[in-house]
Symmetry: C2
């Protein structure tokens, strides 16, 4: 009944946020088509979602303000889906439903919005998850930097799934599913703000297959996807949450050549750069080899990068064991060297 | 373990969004304390939420960009909770869980943020709903107008709840739970942009009790809370979704004196001004009196304001029957006279 056979608007205007005809046309032309699924009803205030009765339901939320909106390897739309899918995945859940809130700046190009929502829809389909509810707001020119997204994910996992910091023990091993820092470095380059150019691609991707593969490993203790603050920040979360030390071996942490070069040029440390498609796992020592084997089938660059130290084993906190046999403490990130990375 | 005995920061800085220590301190000091509940775990990527097995789960999402952030009768925090609670309520659901994403502008006063989150927490408790997951992003000065919120709500309703536009029949009656347009008029005055001042308060509030009261009425067909675009926009949604005409009686629509005066001064129509604490219900003709009685117990200003016309009964669309016995068509809102009302 509400067919919009043609939508000729080229830029977002305040009227696209008015709750009336112009908003409905934008939603029909850009959102409803790209995101179409059996549950999405753009005319309803809320939608019913069937949930598996015998599983535990988990929820997560994030907003996305990445700048630029498009970067090599993705855009804010695919980034949002991967961010939410990964947060659910590392809790042992499969994603089922997404909600999407969009804040648009007056004057934004509709073509850009279409590309973002197209990438978002593609990423959602690839992870088997449906966008079931949405909202669009338009703010005046200058009150937002193009567009911001907020997304909530609902997933389900087997009842009794236990994956918490409290399960981590001294002697456990730390694994990472691939090279670190690509997302941070790619977004930095895409900004051209340091006079550098490059086509380094973000690692933004779903880690759902990796997380599900590790879920089959009885010695799995804990998973997390390193985003803002990078691998070092996840290590600090583990150290703080357990009271144990985290020992990382510098020469085992996979860092791509391009990321390494950018970091050396600009004085960044790749361990603090955001990833958006990597997984850090802590596993029991006796499960480390099997867990790494499972990861390798999906991610050839996965590595065992460190272990959990006992209380009293060194100074606590996060210790980087350098290639030369030295040790240095990895500090917790204090300022924000790269705001709006996600 | 992560106690933050004192949090002395007075303004939001980019470091509060870095994923590290400063962000954790902000979250502990401002969010975790105000929103504390058994499910919220600010250290987790996703949280498990128990859901009633025998009910149907419904989901809704909205973002909030209201300007000013604080206005008589509420602020962006309480507005967000009421907006989400009301979207769930009009679908026949009771709200269970909320997620909260916050986008903050560098330089925002922490005291203002505390007031917003305090009001949000208060509104959530009053509606019996828990904020279970959140996210904080900080954007550079000038890239956001103070703060924007995005909220998703998860609720539950009896299985088989049928409240859709398709249930509406010619002859049904239209009710509204109180005076219209207070929210739009209050926000407009709070902006002082028309040289007008006033302490007109927003109607922002939960309509959950009203919706639940009507759920007990067998002749209930449909409910909606008029927000952006006001009562006229809800009437248009009904007309468009049913193919029937909606007839509203001008002299029965409750409009407060202050709203009427502001509208006359500025040339606005109160029927297009946003409400944030009102409910429009369509009920079978034979249930109208009982339904109005149920509403009156909670909302003395509730009124029967119109009816659904048959196909061929007048020109279709939304017809306003004026106090003088005339008829005029209420157009669908085309531009946005009051952006950032919610």
């Amino acid at each position: 009944m509400d067919r919009t056979p043609s939508f000729a608007d080229t830029h977002v205007s305040l009227a696209h946020g008015n709750g009336g005809r112009r908003m409905r046309e934008l939603i029909d032309a850009v959102f409803a088509r790209a995101l179409a699924n059996a549950h999405l009803d753009t005319a309803a205030d809320a939608v019913a979602v069937p949930l598996p009765l015998h599983q535990e339901v988990v929820v997560t939320t994030d907003s996305f303000t990445v700048q630029p909106i498009e970067f090599p390897g993705g855009n804010i739309g695919s980034l949002a889906v991967h961010g939410i899918v990964n947060d659910l995945a590392v809790c042992g859940a499969r994603p089922l439903y997404l909600t999407l809130s969009v804040i648009l700046e007056e004057g934004l190009e509709i073509a850009l919005l279409r590309r973002v929502i197209g990438a978002l829809a593609h990423a959602a389909r690839a992870s088997g998850v449906a966008v079931v509810a949405g909202d669009t707001k338009v703010v005046e020119r200058g009150d937002c930097d193009g567009m911001y997204l907020a997304m909530t994910g609902i997933g389900a996992r087997p009842r009794g799934t236990a994956l918490g910091l409290e399960r981590i023990r001294a002697g456990d091993r730390v694994l990472v599913s691939g090279t670190v820092g690509e997302h941070g470095a790619a977004v930095m380059l895409a900004r051209h703000e340091f006079g550098l150019h490059g086509r380094l691609a973000s690692d933004a991707a779903s880690v759902l297959p990796h997380a599900q593969a590790l879920m089959a490993e009885p010695g799995l203790r804990f998973m997390r996807d390193p985003t803002r603050g990078g691998l070092a920040t996840v290590a600090h979360e583990i150290a703080r949450g357990t009271g144990l030390s985290v020992h990382l071996s510098e020469d085992r942490i996979p860092v791509g050549d391009a990321v390494q070069s950018v970091c050396e040029l600009l004085g960044f440390d790749p361990l603090y750069l955001a990833c958006e498609g990597r997984l850090v796992a802590v596993v029991a020592r006796e499960s480390a080899e099997a867990a790494l084997g499972r990861l390798h089938r999906l991610a050839p660059q996965a590595q065992l990068i460190g272990h959990i130290g006992a209380i009293g084993d060194g100074p606590g906190g996060v210790v980087l064991e350098t290639a030369l046999g030295g040790r240095r403490m990895l500090d917790e990130l204090d300022d924000d060297p790269l705001p709006r990375i996600c």
